[in-house]
């Protein structure tokens, strides 16, 4: 039996209060849902519990005993384990090697007793039905299986409290169901579990109690049996949220994009896209659903001139696009919201203004004859910041100091404030707050209502379902099924798992 309690935990970074007077507790055989938007302070709190940060104030009490963690090692010894959102696994190691990493059993002359460990891994995996072959190379496993390795890793270190940090972000709906089964099995065997997420229906499905975190404080607790999605959303965001968008019936026009038998290779020269065909018409949003890594990145890159294709055709308003550069693409009126804003959407140490002009700095009014006209840049950025509701102290603020949501609004503002005929929106709302998501969704719908075409690529099935007029499911580089906008989550989920 174990009881873990956080009492009056506070933590600040400079002038930012990340956690303030937080009280939560969780017992053996209990799943606590920690619900909050990005930036609400969930990660800080969990990093305190894992021994990565020390709280400014407050206590960690384990089994009625006050405990201090100087480092992550202390936390592990006290039975706290974390399943990270981004897996901490060495791809070329076997499952067992990954599990024992940092905790190796050795004999004479540091001989690695791998057989003993393999046996233990098998034991754990059987006990909790975490199906995985201990001798398999980790990179050959599916994402769901890699996550099971992470869970085994935590159990191997005899954790009593297991923290799951946004574990469902990378899973198909079916894999999520599997995960919930595992979590329930762990709960029955007496583990305490903290489940961090921003997805409302998930906490309601699997948790025994819910704490809602907003702006560093616990703003409410809820009973998952009684509370509704709407109530949870309102608590999480702090104001009434409109979860469903009103979509006028669309009237489609000419075909904008025609993809015909497109095949593309990935970095390892394997076929990432295998003869896919689809089109996007004026006035519609075509959603590409699928688990991450099924060819989405390669699809976007080949349409935006960032990747060459080995076979097939892409036409834009019936004109073939081949060996076309990103700049020529911009000039055609194709706009692109990249999937990873930090990697390729914005330049973190540039000002908001500089990021605004990233695509068209070479054009008037931002420059003429190679000379920048910063005065005009300033004027235009002020307008964009205002029109796209980008919350920033000023246009001269470095973009890295903006929240994720505002960085993303900056990207959206940059792309939509120019002439748009066709928009490629790749993960347009990944990792941002509900307010920004609402705003960006509205912008996308408005663009569509103005008769433009949008190709939406998202791993969030909810997002695809809310926005798309047609839904294509991408699985292992093939479009395996097409759905209309009123398809059910289950149908699409099955297709995402490869069952057409």
């Amino acid at each position: 039996m174990v009881n873990i309690e956080l009492k009056n935990i506070s933590k600040s970074f400079g002038s930012v209060q990340a956690n303030q007077d937080i009280n939560i507790s969780v017992n053996s055989g209990e799943i606590l849902g920690l619900l909050g938007e990005n930036g609400a302070g969930k990660s800080t709190l969990m990093n305190i519990l894992c021994g990565l940060y020390r709280p400014d104030d407050g206590k960690i009490i384990i089994n009625q005993k006050e405990t201090y963690f100087d480092n992550p090692g202390d936390a592990i010894k006290s039975g706290v384990g974390m399943v990270h959102q981004h897996f901490m696994l060495v791809p070329i190691f076997t499952v067992t090697e990954n599990v024992i990493l940092g905790n190796e059993k050795t004999g004479n002359l540091n001989y690695l007793k791998i057989k003993d460990s393999e046996k233990k891994v098998t034991e754990i995996s059987e006990k909790y039905s975490l199906l995985v072959n201990p001798k398999e190379i980790t990179e050959r496993l599916s994402v769901g299986a890699q996550q099971r390795v992470e869970i085994i890793k935590v159990l191997f270190r005899s954790a009593e409290l297991i923290i799951f940090d946004e574990p469902t972000a990378v899973l198909t709906p079916q894999e999520v169901k599997e995960l919930f089964k595992i979590m329930n099995a762990l709960k029955k065997s007496g583990k305490a579990i903290i489940f961090i997420t921003h997805k409302l229906h998930e906490v309601r499905e699997v948790c025994d109690k819910i704490s809602i975190l907003r702006a560093g404080m616990i703003v409410g607790e809820a009973d998952p049996k009684k509370v509704s999605n709407k109530e949870l959303a309102n608590l999480m965001v702090g104001r009434p949220v409109n979860l469903s968008l009103e979509r006028k019936k669309n009237k489609t026009g000419k075909t904008i994009l025609e993809v015909d038998n497109l095949s593309v290779l990935n970095e390892n020269r394997e076929l990432a896209l295998n003869q896919i065909s689809f089109n996007v018409k004026e006035g519609e949003i075509v959603g590409i659903a699928g688990v991450q890594g099924n060819g989405q990145t390669e699809l976007v890159e080949s349409i935006t001139g960032l990747r060459n294709f080995v076979a097939g055709n892409v036409s834009y308003f019936e004109k073939k696009m081949e060996y076309i550069t990103p700049r020529e693409i911009h000039k055609l009126g194709i706009r692109h919201i990249p999937e990873d804003r930090q990697k390729s959407g914005v330049i973190a140490n540039f000002t908001v203004s500089e990021n605004k002009i990233l695509n068209d700095y070479y054009q008037k009014p931002f420059s003429s004859n190679y000379i920048m006209s910063w005065g005009d840049v300033e004027r235009v950025s002020e307008t964009v910041v205002k029109n796209f509701d980008i919350r920033t102290p000023s246009i001269t603020t470095l973009t890295q100091n903006l929240s994720g949501g505002n960085q993303q609004k900056l990207v959206v503002g940059r792309e939509l404030s120019n002439k748009v005929d066709f928009l490629i929106a790749s993960q347009p709302t990944r990792g941002i707050d509900v307010g920004s998501i609402e705003y960006i969704h509205k912008q996308l719908i408005e663009t569509r209502n103005n008769g433009k075409g949008i190709l939406l690529i998202s791993t969030e099935l909810d997002e695809i379902l809310t926005l798309s007029d047609r839904i294509l499911v991408l699985f292992e580089g093939k479009i395996i099924k097409e759905f209309s906008s009123n398809a059910s989550t289950e149908e699409i989920g099955l297709a995402m798992a490869g069952q057409s």
């Binding site: 390729s344 000002t351 190679y370 300033e378």
Partner: protein, 367 residues
């Protein structure tokens, strides 16, 4: 100043603490540790005091000292501007030394071989050739990187070695070697290709030459290029986030070749400046590892043209003052190398400086 500059719409990263305070404190700390080194080698307190007094007198104590400081700083700043520019574009140009040699060679050949041009044509022509050949030489590394992905650190280091040996070879060619000499030494630059001295009207031995003014122009030019042209915008974008730059339609390969070219031109000018302003001819090793010291200057100046200017003047002062220090206090000039190295260590680890003198800083470090 115009509004947009006051408001810092451009991410210059010109932060007072970053660009001035940390370098100043780093220098002070390096001098203090330099003292400890001297104590450890058995120097007396008085002698250390004499040494440091003369370090100052030799660098700023008289008109001649200032002239020497500026003369030593000029080529350093030229080359460091090029390195800083490459840094901003995400490239580590170790090849300034080789570019100085090639640029200097081009300048010396134009300088002694053309005897029919007036000074107002001959001088710019020699400088131009220095810049062009420096640029072409550096562009080789840029081109290799753009087309084959060869890392510029490796290729520039190798190009340095090639330049060094090329110099030895050229200096023994009959068309270049000074008549009647057996040692490798080039013919002397004609008077029409010498950078005129600018303070000799006060005292004839003041060596400061017009290369100094040219260098100041280069500082302004690099600043303008970096922050007020689309080319600078491309450099900075590519340097800060190559992925985002590529997505924005900026061609990395073009940027790489161009920035290496400009960096090489600046280093080439450093070489031409030495040949035409100080030495008057080329000798083996005339580059005197200016190209390597310039890397330190660029780092110390935080890759900002203004920072580079001040950092270069500081290094110039250490070189000029070090000579007097050696003469008057009998302290080896190697101490200067140690101090320079320590400055770089402190600059590379700003946390060290922040922790050593925490009260000097207003803003807390974000880390």
């Amino acid at each position: 100043m115009r509004d947009y500059l006051k408001k810092k719409i451009i991410s210059e990263n010109f932060d007072f603490e970053e660009i001035l305070l940390i370098p100043i404190l780093a220098t002070l700390l390096a001098l203090i540790i330099g003292c400890l080194f001297l104590l450890a080698t058995g120097e007396t307190f008085e002698n250390i005091l004499v040494a440091f007094t003369n370090l100052f007198i030799g660098s700023f104590g008289s008109l001649n000292a200032i002239s020497e400081t500026f003369t030593a700083a000029t080529p350093l700043i030229f080359a460091a501007l090029g390195i800083a520019l490459a840094f901003r574009a995400g490239l580590f140009n170790i090849g300034a030394e080789g570019q100085i040699i090639i640029g200097g060679m081009a300048a010396v050949i134009i300088g002694f071989s053309i005897d029919f041009l007036p000074i107002w044509l001959h001088l710019p022509l020699a400088l131009l050739f220095g810049a062009i050949f420096g640029a072409l030489y550096a562009a080789i590394a840029g081109w290799l990187k753009a087309t084959t992905g060869a890392h510029e650190v490796i290729s520039t280091i190798m190009l340095n070695l090639i330049a060094l040996r090329l110099l030895d070879y050229f200096l023994r060619l009959p068309v270049i070697q000074k008549e009647g000499r057996n040692d490798p030494i080039s013919k002397s630059v004609l008077e029409t290709a010498q950078l005129p001295q600018i303070l000799s009207f006060i005292e004839p031995q003041l060596r400061l030459h017009s290369g100094f003014i040219l260098m100041l122009v280069a500082v302004v030019f690099v600043y303008w290029l970096l922050f007020h042209t689309t080319i600078g915008f491309e450099f900075r974008s590519t340097g800060s986030n190559p992925n985002a730059a590529q997505y924005a339609g900026i061609k990395a390969s073009l940027t790489i070749v161009l920035v290496m070219g400009i960096a090489g031109a600046l280093a080439g000018l450093a070489g031409a400046n030495q040949i035409m302003g100080v030495l008057g001819r080329a000798t083996p090793g005339f580059s005197a590892s200016i190209g390597f010291d310039a890397i330190a200057v660029a780092l110390l100046g935080r890759s900002h043209p203004i920072g580079v200017l001040f950092a270069g003047l500081l290094f110039g002062a250490l070189i000029a003052g070090g000579r007097l220090m050696q003469v008057k206090a009998g302290v080896s000039i190697d101490l200067i190398t140690i101090i320079q190295a320590l400055i770089i260590v402190f600059i590379a680890a700003p946390l060290l400086v922040r922790n050593a003198v925490p009260w000097a800083f207003k803003t807390k470090d974000k880390n």
